[in-house]
Symmetry: none
DNA sequence: AGCAAAATGGAACAGATATTCCAAATGCGT
DNA sequence: ACGCATTTGGAATATCTGTTCCATTTTGCT
């Protein structure tokens, strides 16, 4: 009873499950039914837990895995663990490998960054909370003037947003720290501030956010982790997790949010 | 070193992380940073995997768990496994779900832009000619000083490249037309110019390219179609076709090339 | 520079988990 | 009802994972 190759994707898994389920004896059928209804639990449960939940012995569940084409539970579990959250085989180590191999050719690097970008985008839909996004759009759309700050590596994003808002005739002002000028006085209570910052957070951005929050100005933050100094300051947080490797941050996902945010604000204003 | 109660919810966990992160030594800080950026992976990874990804020893990661208030990794993992609400429904269904929302809602737009970005990236590997890319890397890596120009919507890309090159200590200069100053005199024959421009091509960029070409300076162009004014001027052309959504250009693919180009130039220089 | 305290790496240990095997039970055809 | 084939339960085993401990290195202070 050597069953063909093990499913390589979740979809294949589901097809195989369906195909196999009909001709299964009682206990194994229980496994199939439970798995069909709780596919997601495979990634985080032990065989013992799965077996008990399905009402069978661990050994029975084991046999089920083999019938599905895997060598055992561990192999089946790996499929679901890897596919969980974009299923990226982490990039920092892959890029490390690239370095070690001395493989610095442009095309090779490009392929890597394309992959990183694609993963970031897939991941994006999970890491951005729709509700926060709507809230952010509301805040920015109802502001008198939208102030934008983003320094260093966030500057490209900030400048893109400034450009997009300008194109849609949304009043916007891009802040920079050129010449150490402090333009925070330009930010009025009826305005809103959009801050873009990623770890390590630049002090200038944090300072600006803190000072305008103290004056009760609404702040939307586009940032990397849910845990960061901006949360404490009462900003509306949009989280974007991006694959980061030293100086090489693929901004794909971040820019995507930036565009969507700009477009939504523009659309809301027009109505 | 018994720290208070262990966090009982993910939110509590994040708060604790934030609170604790500041006063942590190097290796433990690495753990905190990695966890902050990949909280979701705790549920499906082993200590060994987490430790390696964070770049520390398993024992260091263990200590981190204890500082967070757990008895060990297993207890910390339990929190995330219990709160685990599968990566399912997966990417495509999630996308569909977002699409069902109101016409101009933020999430809806985000879904569209993610799609646009993804297809752009998919096309990218086909539209960029490996040979031209290598040639571009050569030119820029052997230049004395790399000049970068990109205006309006290309400005974010230009500023990103300037930032990346700076980070890698490649001598670079970002040109802008602020104040109508003409800094073309700064471009010497042994330098190279990287021009980023998309239809409609901005006159300032074309002018600059023309004037430096007349002086025999190497020019690399990051642009959209193979047929454009820059080709005639003898520039090395990198073509990026980007999928637009509405009036907005998703810069995903363009930025991807920009990163790869910068990284390759940086790597080439170091050798 | 010299000392004490803190942090770190690595290997040894303990515990849990997956996996296998075989005896007992069940179903099925004659 | 009998015997054969299939299925099942449960305990024994092998492997993998978490955890701890201690020698070594690093850091901070006088």
């Amino acid at each position: 009873m050597t069953h063909a190759a093990a499913p390589a994707t979740v979809r294949e898994f589901e097809e195989k499950l369906l195909e196999v389920a009909a001709s299964l004896p009682k206990r194994l059928k229980q496994c199939a039914d439970y798995v069909a209804a709780n596919t997601d639990r495979i990634a985080v449960s032990t065989v013992a837990e799965m077996a008990e939940a399905a009402g069978v012995q661990p050994s029975a569940f084991m046999r089920f895995c083999q019938i599905m084409g895997f060598s055992g539970y561990s192999e089946m579990q790996r499929l679901f663990r890897e596919n969980y959250v974009g299923g990226w085989p982490d990039y920092s180590t892959r890029l490390d490998h690239l370095r070690e191999m001395g493989e610095h050719s442009g095309p090779r690097l490009l392929a890597e960054f394309v992959e990183a970008g694609r993963s970031s985008l897939e991941n994006l839909l999970k890491s951005v909370d729709p509700q926060s996004l709507e809230e952010a759009v509301d805040l920015l759309a109802s502001a008198n003037l939208v102030h934008i700050i983003g320094l260093r590596r966030s500057f490209p994003v900030a400048s893109y947003i400034a450009y997009a808002l300008e194109k849609m005739q949304v009043p916007a002002m891009l802040h920079s720290v050129a010449g150490r000028l402090d333009s925070s006085a330009a930010i009025r209570p009826s305005d809103a501030l959009l801050a873009i910052t990623f770890s390590p957070y630049s002090a200038e951005t944090l300072d600006l956010v803190e000072s305008v929050r103290a004056r009760g100005v609404a702040v939307v933050a586009l940032t990397d982790t849910a845990v960061n100094p901006l949360r404490k300051m009462g900003a509306t947080i949009l989280t974007v997790s991006e694959v980061d490797f030293g100086a090489f941050r693929s901004l794909s996902a971040t820019l995507c949010v930036a565009i969507a945010l700009s477009a939504a604000v523009g659309a809301r204003r027009k109505v």
